[in-house]
């Protein structure tokens, strides 16, 4: 897995790559340990007068209409958003890699069938599909949300992996491995999948940003993460009614979304350049 190590090294050496990695690293640490040091995101500070209070020393990001600490909620929201994104992307990358490997390796009718299904699936707008499904039940469990996002996100990845497999199959080393009696499993996992790992990693990184946006959008529409569980999209929805009087309720989670997605794009682009044989 040397090329991956080297690519990560290259990413770290570019300013934008390093900025993205540092921000995401900081965010992950914050999501993991931040809640230990911050007040409970569900705690209501002033029960007598439930009102949004602007940022202060006690509440650096202010409080919302229910007198809850916005900073706590942004940090807890990071936990939810990152967990949903990581799990959903892991699921879609696995599905996409699996389907792409099968289609590319077996070819023929299997390939044709799978790719026509993928073409069909790609023609359906993902957000509408998710809204259609998520609007039916009263409450959507978090795990169901992850499954829905994960199982609708692998189509483009499968095409990418298939294209890589088709390219790699023509490489002499794959033929050489066959000539030396490598099993089918070994050829697929060791010679095809590992050599396709670079583009797959780029797709996964950019996918994290996509999923965070998608989840925020769904939560903003009330279809994603359900209150009282804090989520960035949900917080923007909460603050919408008071956007003029108490803009901080919406602004801070909004900024969190923008910075996170920007960071994944920076890392993803830097990775893509690192894997680019032309050495951009």
């Amino acid at each position: 897995m040397r090329i991956i190590g080297e690519a990560l090294q290259t990413v770290w050496e570019t300013p934008r790559g390093r900025a993205g990695v540092m921000f995401l690293g900081f965010l992950v640490l914050l999501a993991l340990f931040g809640p230990l040091a911050l007040p409970d995101p569900a705690r209501q500070f002033d029960l007598d007068e439930l009102a949004a209070v602007s940022p202060s020393v006690d509440h650096p990001f202010g409080t919302d209409q229910l007198s809850r600490d916005v900073l706590s909620r942004v940090v807890s929201g990071a936990r939810i958003s990152l967990a949903v994104a990581a799990l959903a992307v892991a699921l879609s990358v696995t599905l996409g890699a699996g389907v792409g490997l099968i289609a590319g390796y077996w070819g023929g009718a299997v390939d044709a069938l799978l790719m026509r299904l993928v073409d069909g699936a790609l023609a359906i707008p993902r957000l509408f599909l998710l809204m259609l499904v998520l609007v039916v039940p009263d409450r959507v469990p978090l795990l169901a949300l992850v499954l829905m996002i994960g199982t609708t996100g692998w189509f483009a990845t499968s095409r990418l992996v298939r294209a890589e497999v088709l390219r790699l199959r023509e490489e002499t080393f794959v033929q050489a491995a066959e000539a030396l009696g490598a099993s089918r499993r070994r050829i697929i996992l060791r010679h095809l999948l590992v050599n396709a790992a670079g583009p797959l990693l780029v797709a996964a990184t950019l996918g994290v940003g996509d999923v965070i946006l998608l989840e925020s959008g769904l939560s903003f529409l009330g279809l994603g993460v359900q209150p009282p569980t804090p989520s960035w999209g949900g917080m923007i929805l909460d603050g919408r009614a008071a956007i003029e009087a108490a803009p901080w309720i919406s602004i801070f989670p909004g900024v969190a979304i923008v910075l996170t997605v920007l960071a994944t794009s920076l890392v993803g682009d830097a990775l893509r350049d690192a894997f680019d044989p032309r050495g951009a």
Binding site: T172, F173, A176, E178, A179, L180, G181, R190, V194, A197
Partner: protein
């Protein structure tokens, strides 16, 4: 002599656009004995690489080996094998090395890893033992500091070194036969000689049979025991190497010799063979060399058989009929 490989009337076909099938390999027969080197010589497109791929049933998916072809590996009928049984032949009984050492190694694994993979695909050994075997193999193929090179990645090695690694991988499971498809074509001349020397040493040390596929008559001399010259999907002349070099008989073989520059002897212009190799979709009828042959006559409209011209020396040419048999 123990016969290790017997190929009989091998025909490989592919579908053409018009629905008919064409035969890039069309009735190839040869044998290989233990410890012997047979050179299969011919121009690009004559079917020599496809012949070698067919030995391991590695013909590309749209092609097929025609019924009536036989490939016997010792007591094994290779063409009847499928799945796991076939996998146990590949690498274990026939090892193979390819033309371009730059692309025949997996770029993301160390060479030690890749040799050990070849060992462990066939032999029940532990990781540690496989690594130790990989080190020994690197030493055998003449790589300096083999222990240090185990952890090198392919891109850190020169072309010659990579081809040595390829040989080590091909030999990992101790096959009886090594098929070398243009093993030195991509290498510098000086490195070519080294690689051929390594192959020769290993053949002698292990009693392995080598099928050396090449377009270069120059590397055949002194390396191969016998030569089979291929043209348009068929063997057109076969003889022990000294006999072939002393008495090249088929007009095509003579043409090949005339187009190779010589270091000794009078300085003459090189004489290329006129025309080009026909496409496998359109082999000429009768003798396939007829359209390019300076000596063609009426009978060449009929396809010739392999006819004897000397001791162990046969050619696919009607001229053999009019000539006295040398012995």
């Amino acid at each position: 002599m123990t016969r290790v490989l017997e190929v009989g009337n091998l025909r490989v076909s592919f579908p053409a656009r018009d629905g008919r099938r064409f035969f890039p390999v069309d009735g190839v027969s040869f044998t290989l004995d233990r410890g012997e080197t047979l050179a299969l010589v011919g121009e690009s497109g004559c079917g020599k690489s496809l012949t070698s791929l067919a030995l391991l049933q590695l013909v590309p998916a749209s092609g097929r080996v025609e019924p009536g072809s036989t490939i016997r590996l010792g007591d094994t009928d290779v063409l009847s094998l499928k799945g796991e049984a076939l996998r146990h032949i590949r690498g274990r009984r026939i090892g193979m090395i390819f033309q371009d050492p730059m692309t025949s190694l997996n770029p993301v694994f160390t060479v030690g890893d890749q040799i050990a993979e070849g060992v462990r695909a066939h032999l029940p050994v532990s990781r540690g033992e496989a690594r130790e075997r990989a080190r020994t193999l690197l030493q055998e193929v003449g790589i300096p500091d083999p222990a240090g090179r185990l952890d090198a990645y392919p891109h850190q090695l020169s072309g010659g070194m990579r081809q040595r690694v390829m040989i080590a991988i091909a030999l990992a499971a101790e096959p009886e036969i090594l098929v070398a498809d243009e093993p030195t074509t991509a290498l510098d001349v000086t490195v070519q000689a080294q690689i051929l020397e390594v192959l020769d040493q290993l053949r002698r040390a292990r009693g392995m049979a080598v099928l050396l596929i090449t377009h270069d008559l120059g590397i055949v001399a002194g390396r191969a025991d016998r030569v089979s010259v291929m043209y348009a999907g068929q063997i057109v002349e076969e003889a022990p190497t000294p006999e072939l070099f002393a008495h090249p008989s088929h007009p095509y073989t003579q043409g090949l010799f005339a187009s190779v520059p010589r270091i000794s002897g009078p300085v003459n212009r090189l004489t290329p063979i006129g025309g080009t190799v026909p496409a496998p979709t359109a082999w000429p009828t009768g003798c396939r060399f007829r359209p390019r042959c300076p000596q063609a006559f009426e009978k060449c409209q009929l396809p010739p058989e392999l006819l004897p011209v000397g001791p162990d020396h046969r050619m696919r040419c009607w001229l053999a009929e009019g000539r006295p048999f040398r012995d």
